[in-house]
């Protein structure tokens, strides 16, 4: 009997170990919200100053690389599609098991917009209403997950607690599974938020007209009792863990905001009423300050309450939030952190060292050369009638073959607007330049095309950037400018 019991225990331990090891592969690791959690788990313990939690509006609202460069902080972002305030609470509980942030910042879209799944968080029995989005499954095994699972599936806790039970038949879709495994195995937490939201498309005139013609009902813009309950719980956590709470709203479309401002104001007042007796809570409503954003800052989508920012909108919003944080909070004990991103270099006035082994050249902007007949000029003006900007250039770093690098371009207007291109720049044939520098550089020409509306008006300095596959970042100040009229 003793032998059986001891062998059973060993067997069970091995089985549990294997199951917990394979557990992360049962959720779709290629999705951005799962990655958001994965990157959180990769962070060092107690290394974060600010934790952002929220829905897709947060994901496409704040770029933590820009914020950290601006504020000299280390921030993390946990976002999940459609995340409501109840889920925010449980996600915050999970965060607090690994981090002790100074500020927890919660994006409030889920509290404002009228929708059953946001306003009715718990049913008549006190159980959380089943969600269409499953952030509970992205957490690792632990008390926070158990508490959340128990509140959603009180009769089926074990099944929902473990992803290898809940999603055990994921293998039937082999294509998705292999994508997920590949995403998990090649996952790089440092890259996760860097490139995924750099979209430059925006609302069309047809969609804008539809927004202008559509009426939006604001009578359901209010904080429900369920939401109040979870807000109180979050406040309670803030006292227990001694952190500041910053609630903010990512801007919405200006046309839409004009029609719904009364609803936004109502929610703001209700929130302020809840927060007024708590000194550690701040509410920052960006919309009332800026009156919403224009169409060039939003990704095109359906004409409804739900608008997501594009890269331009993200840059603007992150700057506003950075400014607010710098003004209202102090990070006394924060040490100077190492360079983690291109943003760290470009935003923080770090001196860009001259590197003679970084060979680089800008040949044309919209077909216009910087150097004509021996006369060099430093600025090319993009006239109003030109919709796109096309920059052609070349870059190469000695001892770093092109195939082992990602080449980017940055356009810096000032410290409040820096556009950094997404992914590797597209290649072009550069025979004339190759002749100049030799055959080895044949693969080094690039071409970068962007809709002018993805940028703001003004004068931009151009930077060429090379990222090595080992994570080294090399920035070259080209001392060339473009001016967008």
């Amino acid at each position: 009997m003793r032998a059986l019991l001891s062998k059973s225990l060993v067997f069970a331990a091995i089985l549990v170990f294997i199951l917990l090891k394979i557990e992360p592969y049962f959720v779709d690791n290629s999705s951005w919200d799962v990655s958001s959690f994965n990157s959180f788990y990769e962070e060092d313990k107690n290394s974060s100053d600010i934790v952002f939690i929220g829905s897709s509006h947060l994901n496409k609202g704040i770029d933590t690389y820009i914020l950290d460069a601006n504020c000299n902080t280390n921030s993390i972002k946990i976002s999940g599609a459609g995340m409501n305030i109840a889920q925010t609470y449980f996600n915050l509980k999970e965060v607090l098991t690994r981090q002790s942030p100074k500020i927890v910042s919660i994006e409030t879209f889920g509290l404002i917009v009228p929708n059953d799944k946001y306003n009715n968080s718990i049913d008549e029995n006190g159980n959380m209403v089943l969600k269409s989005y499953n952030t509970e499954y992205y957490k690792r095994f632990g008390m926070a997950k158990l508490e959340e699972i128990s509140s959603i599936y009180p009769d089926d806790k074990v099944f929902h607690m473990f992803n290898f039970f809940r999603f055990h038949d994921v293998w039937t879709d082999v294509e998705t599974l292999s994508k997920s495994i590949d995403a998990k195995l090649s996952f790089n937490p440092k890259k996760i938020n860097q490139d995924i939201n750099k979209y430059t498309s925006y609302f069309s005139d047809v969609q804008m007209k539809a927004y202008q013609n559509k009426e939006f009902d604001t009578k359901d813009f209010f904080i429900s009792d369920d939401e109040k309950l979870f807000l109180e719980k979050i406040i309670q956590l803030s006292k227990e863990h001694n952190f500041e709470l910053l609630f903010f709203t990512v801007p919405v479309l200006d046309v839409y905001y004009k029609k719904t401002a009364i609803g936004f104001k109502r929610v703001e007042n209700e929130l302020r009423e809840i927060f007024k007796s708590h000194k550690n809570i701040t509410y920052y409503d960006i919309n009332s300050g800026v009156g919403g954003y224009d169409k060039t800052r939003f990704l095109p989508g359906n004409v409804n309450n739900n608008q997501h920012l594009n890269y331009k909108g993200i840059i603007n919003t992150t700057h506003l939030v950075s400014k607010f944080i710098k003004k209202n909070y102090k990070f006394d004990s924060h040490l100077k952190k190492p360079v983690r991103s291109i943003e760290d270099i470009l935003y923080s006035h770090r001196k860009i060292e001259k590197d003679t082994s970084f060979l680089s050249y800008i040949s044309t902007v919209n077909g216009v050369k910087f150097n004509v007949d021996g006369k060099a000029k430093t600025t090319i003006v993009i006239p109003k009638n030109q919709k796109y900007i096309t920059i052609k250039g070349w870059m190469f770093k000695d001892e770093l073959p092109s195939r082992k690098t990602t080449r980017k371009i940055a356009l810096k207007k000032n410290n409040s607007f820096i556009f950094i291109s997404k992914g590797d720049l597209s290649k072009r044939s550069v025979k004339n330049i190759a002749n100049k520098y030799g055959e080895d550089y044949l693969e080094s020409g690039y071409q970068f095309k962007i809709d002018k509306n993805a940028l703001e008006k003004g004068k931009y300095k151009i930077y060429n950037i090379i990222e090595s596959d080992k994570g080294d970042i090399l920035v070259k100040d080209m001392w060339k400018w473009i001016t967008i009229e």
């Binding site: 067997f11 099944f159 038949d169 082999v174």
Partner: protein, 490 residues
């Protein structure tokens, strides 16, 4: 409580540990078995524990009184009491509505409509199984083949023994009851083999049977939407579903019994490799077929009263067997098909032997085995149509679909073989069935478990882990609904 449920996963280890802690104290051990068994059954619906308790008390009392008296008339009266109570419960709960409907239908045949509604009766899980088990006790005492027990606790535990309470094997008192008078010492090898058998049963149930059910239910519950090829796939899959479902249950039951030192009878012995229907019934639901042989076929005269009576007895036994399975004409027809084919087999035995001899089909070789195996499997599948169909009209539609609506080009079409399945599930079930057949084939020739036990620990543990992991990953459970064991309804 279902064997493939979390409740049972918690229940069993607790009972197992408590059982071996009190194993040496017979009374305490039997009390524990009784309490565990009543908990197991009451988990589904505690009200029906009353039926088991009444059956137990009546048969215990009847058995004792019958043994005491030499008066034949009184013995018959006592047997009648036992039959009346046990079969009374069975008939009331299982067949009342069938009789009412048949009564109304028969009037409708003569153009008269009766305004009689059926009763709202819940069928107690496993009533057919424990009824037959307790009946065997009183009948054996009546025949003086068994002495009654004086131990009410042991007898109650025998009737309600949870491993086989709701779906068999239907044990004979002469085999199982004496095991409740013995104490057992813990035998590591026996317990391990029991656990392995349970895992094997769960694999059959959760990976094969419940997966096949997805396809089968889709087709059989929507007969109008599909054609001949869909019917064929569904019927073949049902053959595997019911086999893996029922034999899986039996494996778990036998394995469970083994972990507690009990020896339950073998209920299945690779039935789909039978070369004749007679052989099939020697391998399929052995505990029920031998029950019918001993308590119906032989009392009817068996094969001792001439050819006609022999054929008639076979037919009667199989029609009753069909009726035992379910109160519907479809089950009766299923039984009748088996009865008729068995009659033909018996009647043409000499003729067939002569013809087969001339054709070389009587030799024992693989091709002959395959040929006859295929024929018997086809006949069994044909009969399964009636067993599974929701109504008589559905079963006729399916059978006619085999002949009138069979488009060969649909066999390899995804739309046909993926009905109710997610991508790749057809591949998985095919591989799992092949593995099952391979295992059974090998197990007939060699003792696979013994072979496994001779392997290195690492290999054995890898094998155990892969069984459990394959159940976790490839099993059907959770959102796709745990399927009850099919034989629960009987």
């Amino acid at each position: 409580m279902l064997f493939n449920s979390l409740d049972f996963a918690i229940f069993f280890p607790i009972v197992f540990v408590l059982y071996w802690l009190v194993a040496k104290n017979l009374t305490l051990r039997n009390i524990l078995i009784l309490v565990a068994s009543y908990t197991f059954y009451g988990w589904w619906d505690w009200r029906f524990l009353f039926l088991i308790a009444v059956s137990t008390l009546v048969d215990f009392y009847v058995g004792k009184q019958m043994h005491k008296t030499e008066d034949k008339r009184k013995r018959k009266q006592l047997l009648f009491v036992s039959l009346f109570v046990n079969l009374g419960f069975l008939i009331y709960f299982k067949y009342t509505n069938f009789f009412i409907e048949s009564f109304v239908d028969s009037f409708r045949l003569f153009g008269k409509a009766l305004e009689v509604s059926t009763l709202n009766i819940i069928l107690p899980v496993g009533i057919s199984f424990y009824t037959f088990q307790t009946l065997s006790y009183t009948i054996d005492i009546y025949r003086r083949q068994l002495k009654p027990t004086n131990d009410i606790i042991a007898f109650s535990a025998f009737v309600a023994f949870f491993p086989q309470l709701v779906a068999g094997p239907i044990e004979r008192a002469s085999h199982l009851l004496p095991q409740f008078y013995k104490t057992y010492t813990f035998n590591y090898k026996l317990v391990k083999s029991g656990l392995l058998l349970m895992a094997f049963g769960l694999f059959k149930k959760m990976v094969i049977a419940d997966r096949a059910a997805l396809y089968v239910n889709q087709v059989y519950n929507n007969v109008d939407d599909y054609g001949g090829v869909g019917y064929m796939y569904a019927t073949v899959l049902f053959a595997f579903q019911i086999y893996c479902d029922f034999s899986g249950y039996s494996d778990i039951a036998i394995g469970l019994g083994r972990t507690m030192g009990f020896d339950l009878m073998k209920n299945f012995n690779s039935p789909y490799i039978s070369k004749s229907l007679t052989e099939f019934w020697r391998r399929w639901h052995i505990s029920l077929s031998t029950w019918f042989r001993d308590y119906l076929y032989i009392p009817l005269g068996g094969n001792k009263k001439g050819k006609f009576r022999t054929y008639a007895n076979i037919f009667i036994v199989f029609v009753v067997s069909g009726f035992w399975h379910g109160a519907a004409m479809t089950f009766i027809i299923w039984g009748a098909i088996h009865g008729v084919v068995l009659m033909i087999e018996k009647g043409t035995f000499t003729f067939r032997k002569r013809v087969f001899s001339k054709l070389g089909l009587d030799k024992v070789n693989f091709s002959n085995h395959l040929f006859f195996g295929f024929i018997i499997f086809s006949i069994v599948c044909f009969a399964w149509v009636f067993f599974r169909a929701n109504s008589l009209s559905d079963s006729f539609q399916i059978v006619s679909g085999f002949f009138n609506n069979f488009n060969l080009s649909n066999i390899f079409k995804k739309d046909t073989y993926l009905i109710g399945f997610k991508p790749n599930e057809f591949k998985i079930i095919s591989i799992a069935i092949l593995l099952l057949f391979l295992f059974e084939y090998l197990h007939r020739k060699h003792n696979v478990i013994k072979y496994l036990n001779n392997q290195a620990t690492v290999f054995r543990w890898l094998f155990y882990l892969s069984i459990v992991l394959s159940i976790v990953v490839f099993g059907i459970y959770g959102d796709r609904n745990i399927q009850e064991f099919i034989y629960f309804q009987f």
